[in-house]
Structure formats: structure tokens, C-alpha cells
Symmetry: C2
Subunit: 268 residues, 2 copies
Amino acid sequence: MTSIHIDGATRLYGIVGHPIAQVKSPEVFSERFAAAAINAVMLPVHVLPDRFDATMAALMGIENLDGLLVTVPYKPQAARYANRLGPTASRIGATNALRREQDGTWSGDMFDGAGFVRAFQQKGCELRGRRVALFGAGGAGSAIACELAAVGVASIAILEPQRERAAALAATLRQSFPGCRTDVVDTVPPGTDMIANASTVGMRKDDGMPANIGVLASDTLVGDVIVSREPTALIRHAMRQGCRYIVGREMVAGQAEAIMAFFGEARR
Amino acid sequence: MTSIHIDGATRLYGIVGHPIAQVKSPEVFSERFAAAAINAVMLPVHVLPDRFDATMAALMGIENLDGLLVTVPYKPQAARYANRLGPTASRIGATNALRREQDGTWSGDMFDGAGFVRAFQQKGCELRGRRVALFGAGGAGSAIACELAAVGVASIAILEPQRERAAALAATLRQSFPGCRTDVVDTVPPGTDMIANASTVGMRKDDGMPANIGVLASDTLVGDVIVSREPTALIRHAMRQGCRYIVGREMVAGQAEAIMAFFGEARR
């Protein structure tokens, strides 16, 4: 672990949320900045909902603050602070990272899906042409679906008990990615060769699988957003079938890399 | 040096100023927090004058921010953010530290003089009864004069080219400390046994003494606010005469201790 240093010339980044004590970004990013010899730190910033707007405006006006991450419950509101949005943020209407450009304007994008895709790519997995079954069409699920469609999966079957959410994501995908077949379904379709869990199933230790997904062919890819000490039931299932998989921590690491690159582009 | 750690539960302190890159407090306090096993950091916060009010209000509304230092040019404005002021801040109308109390209100005080007094006390020097010659009646000089009077010096002779400043400080001292004789003078009075330099003389390497102060008795105390790598002309003079003295760095360390104690009182 590289040691973190703070002095008068340190540049500030913050993660704004409510609650905040559980977030990992301050450690993860402060250590990455130190390891890259960048004099910057990532701070936890605990903001209550009735102060969100005034605090965001004030933080963005601090001369030595260069970027912000935004987490629960503020990802939908954060988009309005960007002068321009990246493709995933525009499509799903949620933003989790903002950076100050050299001209003083702000750019935002949503990286909840980029880490998922990046983690598979780093394991050498081909995603193009995959037939995906996606559990969960909330913020993370929507971001993951957009990133998967953007790298060329053949189809996305959405499994989401809230039908309106599922329909909204399907509409977004059909409009932005007409070449990707999108369906709202109740069971995992035959021929599926990629499972993505972006639901909350697996958060509790005694949670089972997000659904009965049966036997998997060993070339099926399995990804789970759940960050947990022990593998989730879904990941244990993937292991037993000899499938390649990514766990929540790998997705988080992939997202941190993607966001570091995003922040870095403003410094060039 | 203890290593600094930042996570989601880290408590924030900031030093607000313009400019900011030169301030030492982020290093000094972040390391003191780490050494005391307090999960907190001190951040540089660079705020332009037209944003000062909105930024102070927003910073004080962040749930995990527990205190603020205020430096040039904001010490006079900072008092209005405190629900109550300590004695030196009330007397001289400037504040350089604010802390959040457990009931959510804010207390402020001015510590520019406390470090000066504390540094002498730590060397075992008796200040009570001293006849002081004070160079400079600006913010630092005023704070030092109030702290010296509060610990019972016999007299303070103020040497300050701006006569209005000198008169204002003399009036404040006479009102708050009628037992301390206060004069505005042009030369160091006979019988002086303590010299305090709170003027800017000594900041530049080729600066000489703040005035011709002649031969000093070896029991004279000499203190200089100037923070410099090499001893100032005044301190070299004190050394040659065998006087006890404190340099700017010792005053800064004394002030950091006093402010750490001030912050700590809110956590008890």
C-alpha cells in the first residue's frame, strides 16, 4: 500500500452520498492516486437530501476540487450538474462521476456498467454476439445493459419483477441499439450464454439464486454485481459448471480503473 | 511519520483560504490525527472571495465535516459563522478555527496568539509580569497581545507604523485588560524584558531587525512569528545575547497543539 500524503497543493475528489460510511471509494481511489504519484485524495462527503443542491454547487466551486463521484441516492439528480454527459449517462438518466475540464466546464458519465464489461474483457472473454439474461433493470442493471449492447452482444433478455422498469429499459435499448434484440421475459431463454445478475439477490448471506437457471454450458459467462466476502449462490453455481465468471469486487475494480481513466483525461 | 488513511468513515476538517497551496496545516494536522489514531484528515480548500459565503455554508452543512481553519484573507469574515466566539476572537474580531459541537452549533476562536504563548510556556518561561515590546499590531500581533495580557504580562508597548492599527489594539487591550499597562511607542522602552515580533520584518532573507533594540539582558525573552529556514536577524541577535527565544516554527507547532485541543473538546 502506497502511503497517502496531504499538503496545501493536494487536489480534491469527493464521493457524495447518504449514508456514506460504508463506501469503499475513498480508500480505493486515494490509494490509486498515491500509487500513480498524483497529489490527490478521494473524500467521503456525507450530504443530507435537503442540502444536496447547495452542496454540489459549492463543491464544484472549490478551486482545487477536480471531480466528484455520486452514489445512492443521488445518481439520478447528478446528471444536471454536467455541462455534457457521456453515452450511458444520457441513455439511462443517471450519473455517478463528474470531472472538471480544463476550460472549467463539467463532464459526467455513468460507470456502473463499464466496470462489469471491463472485468470480463480483462479476463479475455469475448462479449460480442453473446445472448444475455440480465437479472435486474434498476440503475446498475440499466448501465450494464447499455454497456453490453455497446460492445455488441446479440440479445438481452430482461428479468425484472417491476414490469415498468423492465419496459423502460427495453425501450431505451431498442432505441439506442436496434441491432441488439431486447426482450422482457420471465424465465431464462434457451440459448443464453451469458448471465448477468444486477438484482439485489445475493446481498443477504442466505439468499439463493436470482432464479432457477438450470445447468449451464461451460462456455457460459456469469457475472454478479454483489460485493460479498463469500461467493454468492450464482457464482458457486458458475464454479461448479466450470464457467468463467466475475464477482462484484472485480466489477468494482474495473469501474475504478474506468473512472481513473475518465478523471485522467481532464488532466491531459 | 504515521501513515494517513482515508475511508468512508473518515471525518473531514478543512483549511479555507486564497491562495492555498502554501499552507502547512493539511500536512501538520492530518499527521497529528493519524498519530492520535483519529480517523480524520485536514484538507486544503481553495475558495475565491466571491464564493466564500456560499462555500462556508455548504461545508458546515456536510455531515462528516467537524471543523474548519480559516486563513488569509478570510479571518475577519469567519467570525460570523460561529454561534459563539472564544475570548480572543471576540476581542480582535478575527477567527481562524471553527468546530461543530455535539448539538450541531459552531464555536470559533482565534489561535494565532495561543501558539506563541504556548511555545514559551513549553520551554518553562515565566511570562507573568513581563514588560513586552510588540512589533506589529495586525491580526497576529493583536492575537498575541491579547494572549500575553491574558496570562498576566505587566505591560505591552506597541510599535506599529500604522497609527490607527496601533491605537485600535491599544484601546482593545485597555478595555479588556485594565491591569496591563498599554502604550503606543516609537522605540523600545527601557526596562523591556520581552520582545515579540509580529511584523512582517524578517520574511525576506535580507531583512534586518524590526528596529534597533540594542543590547538585551540575558533574561529577556525573544519571540518571532516569522517562519523561515534560517534564523531571522532578531533571533540571531537573541542567540548572541544568550536570551531564550522561540521561532516561527515553534509558534506554529504550539498553535497546532492548541487547535487540536480545541477540536478535541467537541468530540468528548
